[in-house]
Symmetry: C2
Subunit: 308 residues, 2 copies
């Protein structure tokens, strides 16, 4: 089993009320790759500039990520600068320098084309479609997006969504895309476009899964100290799809486990800046937090006996 992921590889400059960091390793595809590498084999597609340190690529390779799909181009690496306020909920983007990313045209190495699972991270839907055209016979295709594409490339985005199995999307963005405030109705509207499974990301309020007629909810793991939410959504998707790919089948049981593992992985990455927490993380810690998360929510109670 293996996953192909395409998306941004970036430098992030992030400030929060708890500190700041300049030009740290970032990018949706990186966060996704590291998280899913705990569960399955990952093949990364992206582009970096001349300034991207070899060390960052070695870190990914060391995690078992196949980086042959990462091209190095003349120029600078994509750079994002953002600020979070005290509630750490939504980032304020201060600067987006696309650099080498501006004429990125993903080309997949031959052996990538047989991937079972594909994650199209948040990039131009035209590029997402281009990647999809290169995959021979995928079993699970998932996609993430953002308000920028909902507004600027609505038709292409809907075309891409019509070809996927799982849509990952923020709560405010599904409302915008579906033009519907009620999340149950918004999810149904997205299912009508094609994907059977919709995952609505709600930040500190957890994530909501709609799969066919089934609904499932995973609360965010309650943390006393969170530092930097950058990458939480992609790390969630990495844990989620890593688990599905490892298991080789997508049913309501494996989807529930995927929701929980996505939650667990995201809860780690936000504990420190950039990849600092992920560098130390091991499977035992993941397993322990997974068990805590299980206990945190609904448990198998006996049938209740009522008054009359």
């Amino acid at each position: 089993m293996s996953i192909v992921v395409v998306g941004s590889i970036a430098f992030d400059s992030v400030s929060t009320p708890f500190g700041e960091r300049e030009y740290a390793l970032g990018g949706a595809a990186n966060y996704f790759s590291v998280a899913s590498s705990f569960f399955t084999d990952v093949k990364l597609v992206g582009v970096v500039g001349e300034d991207f340190p070899e060390d960052h690529l070695s870190y990914l390779t060391m995690k078992g990520v196949d980086t042959r799909g990462v091209k190095r181009h003349f120029g600078k690496t994509f750079h994002w600068k953002g600020h979070y306020g005290f509630d750490l909920n939504e980032a304020q983007t201060l600067k987006t320098e696309l650099n080498v990313f501006s004429d990125f045209s993903p080309q997949l190495p031959d052996d990538y084309r047989k991937a079972r699972t594909v994650f199209l991270a948040n990039i131009d839907p035209t590029l997402q479609l281009k990647v999809l055209d290169q995959i021979q016979n995928p079993n699970i295709v998932a996609l993430d997006t953002m308000n920028f594409w909902i507004e600027g490339k609505n038709a292409e985005l809907k075309k891409a969504i019509s070809r996927i199995d799982i849509l990952f999307i923020n709560e405010s963005e599904i409302r915008q895309l579906a033009k519907e405030h009620n999340v149950v109705k918004a999810a149904k509207a997205m299912q009508a476009l094609g994907p059977k499974t919709i995952v609505i990301k709600r930040g500190e309020y957890g994530a909501l899964l709609f799969s066919g007629e089934n609904i499932f909810f995973a609360p965010a793991f309650p943390l006393e100290n969170l530092f930097d939410p950058t990458g939480a959504g992609d790390t969630f998707a990495g844990g989620f799809l890593g688990w599905l790919d490892k298991n080789g089948e997508m049913n309501f049981d494996t989807l529930k486990e995927a929701m929980a593992l996505g939650t667990v992985m995201a809860s780690f990455v936000i504990e420190k800046f950039s990849f600092d927490r992920m560098r130390d993380l091991n499977l035992l810690e993941i397993k322990k937090r997974y068990e805590k998360l299980q206990n945190l929510s609904m448990s198998p109670n006996k049938a209740l006996e009522f008054k009359n």
Copy 2:
């Protein structure tokens, strides 16, 4: 087993994007009473004006609520007028006419004083303390409050909180009261004041329970059609405490069930205006939705097998 509840009995004039209703039955103590009457015996303490229809009291009596603690005074019944926007999240208060409520001084009938469980709904903390002084030997005392008392009667409120077992509070209000944004830290700060159990109400994002060292989360029940969130918090508390009182003991298992039943009861009341949905509701519907809620969240998965 029985619960004494003290709080507002009101007329509510509510407008939402889906319709409006003038001078409908409302009030925290009413919402609480009706919800908990499905599980246990309820004794209501409050005040109404000359304009309060006998029919409303008969409805409560028919639900098994003891209304001997409801006094009828000269003047008009407490009236609240509010508006909800499209997100139905927070009410905008347009009018608050205290009327007979302005010089309310709760006096409990003798047999009320032996109640096992007490709910001090959101009223002046001075009155909450006055009620507490009249209860002989309660097993569980719970309290709800709001920003108005946090700002205006902070010391009295903290004194009241120091004497209770369970604090029900909105997320924004616990942040304000604890002067702490992080909800885990805010809950610990409240526990340090006295109550072992803190329930943070998060509206459409569910509710979070802290009890001693334990944490538990119940998601809101996902609804396609919700109409009027008025009374959701008190209905939640009614299901919650009704279940605890019926069971006669408070431990982490009964608290988890209480969280789920509070969630279920609140999910019904918001489906229609005022008490319209509660009037039709039966235990079978409650039981079915409870089971759905169980399936919606974490289930007893096998221990996971990881990659290595």
